[in-house]
């Protein structure tokens, strides 16, 4: 059963004092972050800044060393990843690790089954199973409908990235964490991705890690900048573009990716 008692005026995501330590090394430290429902937030930062580590803690892929995470008013700091997914939290991974032996259709089917959870997961497939229809809809949205019956190991890099997004969109997410969805895409594929991000329903909250400034600024209304595991600056895209610190550590020093 999805847990859906969201509080009407609660923030989509509230993060207080989050830290993640690997051995003696703090990958992220003392992070505060507040994201309103429906907000489009970009997270910038040079490689190794801790962006992916922060996502891992937010989703429950790894546990937080310190701090509190609240999703739509409910504390989820100690909750396993599957519970958070059923609350409407989804993510994509920077380095896609998909099911190589499964087709696109079956992968998307599992994404839907995972969100719905429960005993239905084990029932045999029947023609007209609405989870199959949902999988096909996701393929359509993510632009992989033409390769529905290919094994994911046969997909191009761009198609794998699109499939990642399709997985994350299963069953109407409420908050999407996208980890460099445009990484490795050709210049021709990038506008397609922007268009896909822009076409997401307005009530979906999106937190986007993105190196591509065009995509980041075009699709986001607010920006947080991470540096050495700490929050360096927050503000509107314009604020961030003018921020001296940000220029020094990131924009000035960024050599592409």
């Amino acid at each position: 059963m999805p847990v859906n008692h969201s509080h009407t005026n609660a923030n989509a995501l509230e993060v207080r004092g989050i830290g993640k330590r690997f051995g003696g090394f703090w990958a992220v430290q003392d992070i505060d972050l507040t994201v309103r429902p429906g907000e489009r937030r970009a997270i910038l930062g040079p490689n190794g800044a801790g962006k992916t580590s922060l996502f891992n803690v937010l989703t429950g892929d790894t546990s937080a060393t310190t701090g509190q995470i609240t999703l739509f008013g409910d504390s989820v700091t100690r909750e396993p990843i599957n519970k958070r997914i059923q609350r409407g939290l989804r993510r994509t991974y920077q380095h896609a690790h998909l099911f190589n032996g499964l087709t696109v259709r079956d992968t998307l089917f599992l994404a839907v089954a995972g969100v719905r959870g429960g005993w239905r997961q084990v029932l045999p497939l029947r023609a007209g199973d609405d989870r199959l229809a949902e999988a096909e809809r996701l393929a359509e949205v993510a632009g992989v409908a033409d390769v529905l019956d290919r094994e994911t190991s046969e997909l191009s890099h761009g198609q794998r990235r699109q499939l990642e997004i399709g997985i994350a969109l299963a069953e109407k997410p409420k908050i999407l964490l996208l980890d460099e969805p445009a990484a490795g895409l050709s210049p021709a594929e990038r506008p397609k991705l922007s268009a896909l991000l822009m076409s997401l329903p307005k009530d979906v909250t999106v937190v986007l890690i993105e190196h591509d400034m065009d995509i980041a600024l075009q699709t986001s209304e607010s920006v947080s900048v991470l540096y050495n595991g700490r929050m360096l600056a927050e503000g509107s895209p314009d604020d961030i573009m003018r921020n001296e610190d940000v220029h020094r550590v990131y924009i000035g020093g960024a050599h592409g990716h």
Partner: protein
């Protein structure tokens, strides 16, 4: 390949084979193939090599021996329509339990754990007399009779084994397309990602082992009828390794390969012993295994289907598969 092309000759086989060939070669291959199928299913779809399949088969076999007619005077007589489902159920439960124990292990660690379970069960059967009758086990186990016809009759046992093999393959191909079967394959490819989709990883692993227990159990029941006895030697290292060899010869990438492997193994086992002595048989099977691992790591089944594919369309050999 169309199933009928294979099935019709197999159904006609009793017309051309004498009892020795039918029972010692054909039926034995089918039974060994079903047990090896339980392993190649796990290896192909869960990506785990289990050494505990002989244990699951043995649990079903011992159940049949204990609850059926035998000549050692141990056990309780139950009608076969109770003892057979009971044997299958215990094999499924033992498979599930073994899966639960091995659920966090992969690769060499899964092999070690399942091997430890298999060996522990072997020693347990040797030491326990009330249920397993120690190392001598059960002899004089008789297959059920239906309308005066014993299922141990060569033709009946052959057809029963063939039917079970076909059913087992059909079950596997249906199961792997079910949501649970898809989840099992997803666990094989990326277990962390399965969890990240919100799906439990333990359930598919336990289910895969339990399902393999069903297959192994079916093979174990047929085997105890075929051998007419079961003892600690039926669940020892010998059978554990035989099942592995059969599955590897056939190829761990396609479940049907188990039957190809079983035929090769049984032919070698039956006839090579006449030509060379027993000691050298192990060397021979070792060499065959080595050749297969080197020449055809996908097993004989894979080798054959590659040839068939090449013969069918030599002109598209260069092109990638689309």
């Amino acid at each position: 390949m169309r199933p009928a092309l294979i099935l019709i000759p197999l159904l006609a086989l009793p017309l051309v084979l004498n009892d020795f060939w039918l029972t010692q070669v054909a039926t034995r291959s089918l039974i060994l193939g079903i047990m090896a199928l339980s392993l190649s299913f796990l290896a192909t779809y869960l990506g785990v090599v289990s050494f505990a399949q002989a244990t699951m088969a043995g649990i079903a076999g011992y159940t049949i021996a204990y609850f059926g007619p035998n000549s050692v005077g141990i056990g309780v007589q139950l009608p076969f329509w109770i003892s057979i489902p009971l044997a299958l159920m215990l094999a499924v439960v033992s498979g599930g339990l073994i899966g639960l124990i091995a659920r966090r292990s992969r690769g060499i660690y899964a092999i070690m754990i399942t091997l430890a379970i298999g060996v522990a069960f072997f020693y347990f059967t040797r030491q326990n007399y009330t249920l397993f009758n120690g190392w001598t086990g059960f002899s004089g186990v008789r297959a059920p009779e239906i309308g005066g016809l014993s299922l141990r009759d060569p033709l009946a046992l052959y057809l029963l084994s063939l039917g079970t093999a076909v059913l087992a393959l059909a079950l596997v191909s249906g199961f792997v397309r079910s949501p649970l079967g898809l989840t099992i394959q997803a666990v094989r490819d990326a277990p962390g990602r399965v969890l990240a989709l919100g799906i439990s990883v333990t359930t598919p692993i336990v289910a895969a082992f339990a399902f393999s227990g069903l297959l192994a159990g079916a093979g174990g029941i047929l085997n105890v009828w075929y051998q007419e006895r079961i003892s600690s030697f039926s669940v020892g290292l010998g059978p554990i390794i035989d099942i592995l060899i059969v599955a590897v010869i056939g190829g761990l990438r396609h479940p049907a390969g188990a039957f190809v492997g079983a035929v090769v193994f049984v032919l070698l086992d039956t006839f090579a012993v006449d030509l060379i002595d027993r000691e050298r048989f192990n060397t021979l099977i070792g060499v065959v295994l080595l050749l297969i691992v080197i020449v055809a790591p996908g097993g004989l089944q894979q080798l054959a289907s590659d040839w068939v594919a090449r013969l069918r369309r030599p002109e598209v050999k260069e092109k990638s598969t689309v």
